[in-house]
């Protein structure tokens, strides 16, 4: 491994001998898929990037200092591999400065089934994400265009949908209908429906999908942005129902997870299975947009629809 070629630009390391960096065991995290998957599934094993570390790119093995990675919107400067970002980072990326007004900020989950260990899981997620639940919703200005925006945080029990996520998404759609503004949902939910709420999490699929039918009847634009990962009950409900569906590069997007499919069919999954590109080629994604271009693309799409649909337009 020729480290000097891999580390291009870093703050702490300036003037420092490269070998000094590795006096102790380097603390970069590897995000390679585990040995289980012969087919390359680049994103399933992605992890959040902790602070103060060097990060090794899953795809090209480039090692980047975390602050440089952050400056580059957590996209590998060498191969453009898109690492996961959390909901607050996403908010900063997309929304005008001072242009966000959160809604339902304090809605909290109830362990409706008395599901074992659920409270602990919630507390852990709350601590890790500094969120009360897995989705942030609110009125958002995107280059001065008012929208109803919802962003799911993967860190919160895998971005899964329980009663609170379902309710907040539904209200975000209702807000869009009421104020005749576009709805944007950024999905990044691994597990899809949240098992810990049993049948009620399944019902959130119904609840969120049916309100989108009302939204559509009201002539409002709905843009669905699929980030890594978008799976299961999230994909099988609101995430698939955008008037326009955007995917970030390198996202894992599918219904059944690759592990389960692999275990069931006992075959090697094809290369690139369930990636953003796979979904584009199979006709389920309108376009793939680099993170750095996402705000501009959203803005252009919003502008195309400024006059609104037949119902609320003229």
């Amino acid at each position: 491994m020729i480290i000097p070629l891999l580390i291009r630009d870093f703050e702490a390391g300036v003037g420092m001998a490269i070998k000094d960096l590795f006096k102790t065991k380097p603390k970069y995290i590897t995000v390679k898929p585990s040995g289980e998957f012969p087919g390359k599934i680049p994103s399933i094993e992605k992890k959040e990037i902790p602070d103060g570390l060097w990060v090794k790119c899953d795809r090209c093995s480039q090692i980047t200092y975390h602050k440089d990675l952050e400056k580059n919107l957590k996209v590998c400067p060498k191969c453009s591999f898109h690492f996961r970002i959390n909901a607050k980072e996403r908010l900063e990326l997309l929304v005008d400065n001072g242009g966000f007004q959160e809604t339902d900020a304090n809605m909290r989950t109830v362990n409706i089934l008395g599901f074992p260990d659920y409270e602990n899981k919630l507390k852990k997620s709350q601590k890790n994400t500094e969120l009360i639940e897995g989705v942030i919703t609110g009125r958002a200005l995107i280059n001065e265009i008012p929208t109803s925006l919802a962003i799911i945080d993967f860190g919160f029990i895998g971005g899964s949908m329980g009663s609170v996520v379902g309710e907040k998404l539904t209200r975000a759609a209702e807000l869009a209908i009421k104020e005749k503004i576009p709805l944007i949902i950024i999905s990044g939910g691994g597990g899809g429906a949240r098992m810990h709420e049993g049948i009620f999490s399944l019902m959130q699929m119904a609840k969120t999908s049916q309100v989108l039918n009302k939204l559509s009847d009201a002539g409002c634009l709905y843009i669905s942005v699929l980030t890594d990962p978008t799976m299961g009950g999230v994909l099988a409900s609101f995430a698939s129902l955008g008037d326009v569906i955007i995917a970030e590069p390198d996202a894992l997007i599918g219904f059944t997870g690759p592990r389960v499919i692999q275990q069931t069919i006992r075959q090697i999954l094809p290369a690139g299975f369930q990636t953003s590109q796979f979904q584009l080629e199979h006709g389920f994604v309108d376009l793939i947009v680099q993170r750095k271009d996402l705000k501009a693309t959203l803005t252009q799409l919003l502008k195309f629809h400024l006059k609104g649909g037949k119902v609320n337009g003229n």
Partner: protein
């Protein structure tokens, strides 16, 4: 009796044992010409109370064994009893006819209805043909096409759900089962005809919900309905699929649980031991239940039906505000 109805389930074996003893006693009594009516009568009573005891106290996991019994009636079995003049309509007008999802038009008494459901095989060969009743995306899309057809002609829709879950296969992903399920849910929300859903056996996650957006949702006594299969949940929760029993308890997926949580409107009772013990009686119960819940819906306007269905699903979920 149980012998004609396929394999005997583990928890049914004591009943079978007792029935065998009674039969042996009868043969003995006849052969030896020794009158033993009284003893036989006692044993028969015991058998009956044992039956009642076992079948009335089934664990959720035993119920799952019952709904997966190889002789449990399938969609087309029920259709043949509940409805008349069924004409099956094939195809999604797009890619394929999926034999795992069946639908068509028939009379329910004298009302034309569209009836749709997953079709499991009744033997190994049919199970392979029907992919064990696991639809591919084209199956969901066929169902949606038939629902739109029903909607256009103001025909009520009856969905009989029986599916362990969505199909974990490469082709199902390639053809977008996520999109197909989502689309079905969304468009079912827009149907302006009455929709009655009955979970006849397994109600597994998205595969069930894709034809599950009803004005009324009914459920067979032994059926389950869940966001994840018991085995799937156990694998995740306990890293052990065999702990499905505990998962079932945690998930609360059996009919009484779901009735209590207002997810279903009524439980349709099955004969002692399960639907396969008496398909005719089972189907009669189903028909009674369907008609009971469909009848008031027939009086509603399209707008009322839409609002009724919307309200049902809008309310689900529990949370605390401030």
């Amino acid at each position: 009796m149980a012998i004609n109805q396929g394999p005997v389930l583990e928890f049914e074996k004591p009943i079978l044992e007792l029935e065998k003893q009674i039969e042996e006693l009868r043969v003995f009594s006849r052969d030896k010409n020794i009158p033993m009516e009284e003893q036989i009568h006692v044993l028969e009573q015991k058998a009956r109370s044992l039956q009642t005891e076992i079948y009335k106290n089934l664990t959720p996991l035993q119920r799952i064994q019952i709904v997966r019994h190889p002789k449990r009636p399938t969609f087309l079995d029920y259709v043949g009893i509940i409805f008349t003049n069924f004409i099956e309509l094939h195809g999604d007008r797009n890619f394929k006819d999926d034999p795992a999802m069946v639908g068509g038009i028939a009379y329910l008494d004298d009302i034309p209805v569209t009836v749709i459901g997953q079709q499991k095989g009744r033997d190994t060969k049919e199970n392979i043909y029907r992919n064990f009743g696991l639809p591919h995306p084209e199956g969901y899309r066929k169902a949606l096409r038939l629902m739109h057809q029903a909607d256009k002609f103001g025909r009520p829709i009856i969905c009989l759900v029986d599916v362990v879950g969505a199909y974990p296969g490469i082709e199902a992903e390639e053809r977008g089962q996520g999109e197909a399920i989502a689309r079905n849910i969304q468009e079912m929300a827009g149907l302006s005809v009455p929709v009655v859903v009955l979970i006849t056996g397994e109600g597994g996650s998205g595969g069930a919900l894709a034809i599950g957006i009803g004005n009324r949702v009914l459920m067979m006594e032994n059926a389950w309905y869940s966001v994840i299969s018991p085995e799937g949940c156990a694998s995740i929760l306990y890293r052990d699929a065999s702990k499905a029993g505990e998962a079932v308890q945690a998930l609360k997926i059996s009919a009484p649980n779901l009735l209590e949580m207002d997810i279903v409107d009524e439980i349709i009772s099955e004969p002692l031991g399960g639907a396969h013990k008496n398909p005719q009686e089972t189907a009669n119960n189903m028909k009674t239940g369907i008609i009971k819940h469909l009848t008031p819906l027939l009086k509603l306007t399209p707008e009322e039906l839409l609002a009724d269905r919307y309200q049902r699903f809008r309310q689900y979920g529990k949370f605390i505000e401030n």
